[in-house]
């Protein structure tokens, strides 16, 4: 598994447990009125799960496992996936912040960041979405 995928999948697992723990506290709060302010974190829970857990996981697994570009196993330049991941993490940070302390410009900022992240990951994956290319190794000339 390449370095980017290790980073992204581990980040996604952390979002799963931290976001899920927030969900757990909300559920306890719903039952016995414990820590009622946790409900400000409801939107943060939803985005940590749907964006933090699922999207980071998808980015990491896609980079790892989509068809390679040549017989050496080249996955394409990694800078686009790092960019996508950086944008996604920034969008999440803004979203989590804004869902706890509502802040109107946050939606515009986070959605722009997320949109750019989507463009970057799509740009990376696009040429890899193809049947496997089996090229002759450079040594064995045709």
């Amino acid at each position: 598994m390449p370095k980017f995928s290790i980073f992204s999948i581990r980040a996604s697992l952390l979002y799963l447990v931290i976001g899920g723990s927030v969900g757990g506290i909300m559920l306890v709060s719903k039952a016995i009125g414990f820590l009622p302010w946790i409900w400000y974190w409801r939107t943060a829970h939803i985005h940590a799960m749907l964006v933090g857990w699922l999207l980071n996981l998808i980015f990491g697994v896609a980079f790892w496992i989509l068809p390679r570009l040549d017989a050496h196993g080249w996955r394409g330049s990694p800078w686009l996936v790092w960019l996508a991941s950086g944008l996604l993490h920034s969008a999440l940070a803004v979203l989590v912040w804004a869902s706890i302390w509502p802040w109107s410009a946050a939606i515009a900022i986070a959605s722009s960041l997320e949109c750019l992240a989507a463009i970057a990951i799509a740009w990376h994956c696009w040429p890899r979405l193809q049947p496997l290319i089996i090229e002759p190794r450079p040594a064995q000339n045709k």
């Binding site: 390449p2 290790i6 581990r10 697992l13 952390l14 447990v17 559920l27 799960m49 857990w53």
Partner: protein, 145 residues
């Protein structure tokens, strides 16, 4: 496919079917234009059956199957952790799906504390999933010791 992965993935399909059944019941109940629809309490159950029971459980099952192996002797790490995660995951979600709507239908002390128990099981399950998968997110197969 390892037995563990088959349990996770098959149970994920059971949750998919349950989620659709709940969805169908909720949508159909709207035909009667009730003043207060008791099935509205199932919305959160529906979302989590779909996102936790189906999507998350399917992902974990496929990860157990396809992530780089832990070591040659223990390809999936400590399987006890994986089974404990499976049990707490489904027990927690199943219990929650029953008692969370009961907070609206028939609240009682027992229901409240069962919700607390279900929440603890669900959170414990996620930490066990982390414990199980973290060491398998790595570059290569570790050599036998």
């Amino acid at each position: 496919m390892p037995t563990l992965a088959r349990y996770y993935i098959r149970t994920a399909f059971v949750w998919l079917v349950l989620a659709f059944a709940i969805g169908i019941a909720m949508l159909t109940s709207q035909l009667w234009a009730l003043k207060t629809n008791p099935l509205a309490a199932l919305q959160i159950v529906f979302y989590h059956a779909l996102m936790v029971g189906w999507v998350t459980q399917l992902i974990v099952g496929v990860a157990i199957w396809l992530f780089p192996v832990h070591t040659r002797e223990q390809p999936r790490g400590n399987e006890k952790v994986a089974w404990a995660a499976y049990a707490t995951f489904n027990l927690g979600l199943g219990l929650r799906s029953i008692v969370e709507p009961m907070l609206q239908w028939a609240p009682s002390g027992l229901v409240k504390w069962t919700v607390v128990g279900a929440a603890c099981l669900q959170v414990a399950a996620l930490w066990l999933v982390l414990l199980m998968l973290w060491p398998r997110v790595k570059a290569k197969v570790s050599k036998a010791k």
